[in-house]
Amino acid sequence: MEIDPFIFRLSIFILSIFVGYYVVWSVTPSLHTPLMSVTNAISSVIIVGAIIAALSGSDGVVFSSSSIYGFLAIILAAVNIFGGFLVTQRMLAMYKKKKKDK
């Protein structure tokens, strides 16, 4: 009997939860705020779905009832991607070590 591809995706999902569990426990508490902003940015990879939805219109019809939702989702996800990564960058740039000479 063949295995449903769903099972493979489920396996990836479960294993990723474990990976996430161990990786996140190793994040230093002082970086928990950047952790939240970067997880925010990466969860906006949902833009993948938004792009497929936006390009679902047939030839000549760019804005169909389903593609409009895709375009809206693209805006939302893009705000998050750029905003999330840039604000994380900005925060991480502020974390500095003690200067040696002091």
Binding site: F6, R9, F13, I14, S16, I17, G20, V23, V24, W25, S26, P29, L31, T33, P34, L35, M36, V38, T39, N40, A41, S43, S44, V45, I46, V48, A50, I51, A53, L55, S64, S65, S66, S67, Y69, F71, L72, A73, L76, A77, A78, V79, N80, I81, F82, G83, G84, F85, L86, V87, T88, Q89, R90, M91, L92, Y95, K96, K98, K99, K102
Partner: protein
Amino acid sequence: MSANLSAILYLVSGVLFILALRGLSSPETSRQGNLFGIIGMLIAVTVTFLSVGNFSSGFIYVLIFLVIGGSIGAFIAYRIPMTAMPELVAGFHSLVGLAAVFVAISAFINPAAFNLGTPGNIKLASLIEMAIGAAVGAITFSGSVIAFLKLQGIMSGAPITFKGQHLLNALLLILIVILTIYLCSTQSSNLFWILIAVSFLIGFLIIIPIGGADMPVVISMLNSYSGWAAAGIGFTLENTALIITGALVGSSGAILSYIMCKGMNRSFFNVILGGFGATDQTTGGQSKEQRPVKSGNADDAAFLMKNASSVIIVPGYGMAVAQAQHALREMVDTLKKNDIKVSYAIHPVAGRMPGHMNVLLAEANVPYDEVFELEEINNDFANADVAFVIGANDVTNPVAKTDPQSPIYGMPVLDVEKCKSVLFVKRSLSPGYAGIDNDLFYKENTLMLFADAKKMTEDITKNL
């Protein structure tokens, strides 16, 4: 682009996202980690364009909308003050949630574009995944909007409770399950819209009873939800990058919620069921007898600190409110010039989101290796000369260790009272969020400095 190649590239971007989180294990590697995240995103978006392979006029519009959203995001990212990070993150969560809802709607209206069947005849598994993605996304959206409004102060931080609240929430949750089952058997679009509407409502109802100071838990929880929503959509789209990311974000948010709950010694359900801040006011009233308090001015504080050899600073949310972090750093610089050892002690739930204080101190150019977590520094209080508590209250209350009747009993606290002397910057003697009196105010070795945190810190620096 072949389906296999794009699947492999999505996997690569998933791995890069794992590395992005992995980088955060230390500040040195964190910037590189962020870069990995950006590359991962770039790969995912490019692969999607190539595998759809539709470069007609629609593609131009996609780019236009990307640029619009991107510019808004970049603008916000550069302008936002660090004190407003909790609001920003809550706002961003709501966008992820809404985006998940929109993608699910689009997939429901036009399943053929996603290879999920035809309208009215969508594959059962896809329909379930879609419904879960849409429901969790909607809950994330409305919940985050409420969290945002509370954090912004547009909505009062006080918990809103009413009779039968939990029963109503439970009924709505059951309704969501029933709707999903009916949706699967009838494929009716009306049911799909009702499902989304009920999910919006429940997100709203879940967050309104939670008090302002429990926001660290709420934000972490919504962080987790946004991940599960993304994972739900990932299953619908059969997209590995989205599934991996969803799982990562989901477990990250769950761990942060756990850490925050532990920092307050409260169970997750206790926080979620809400109403803490309002009901415990009475406990504070009982012990309100007039006890003598020693209060001083900036001159006294400066004198104490000048004669100390080590000082520990305990910042709290009040410091963020007063924007006192830069003034504080200047004070510490002056102390260091006088060869006084200074370190910072941060309680897990200081501030309005996990790690908030660390970011504020980093913004004020405090080196991160002078900033310590509760477990790292708690033993040092006994050997320190002065503890300088600025804008923190409940997290220093010794009653959490001594009085089993206290609502905060068992909560891990900073052992500030073990210091030779304690300086407490506060505007008044009013109790903290937990509504209980702080014994520390009345201790022999405590000197209260009644003033605005920023002004007091500046005055002390002048007097040093």
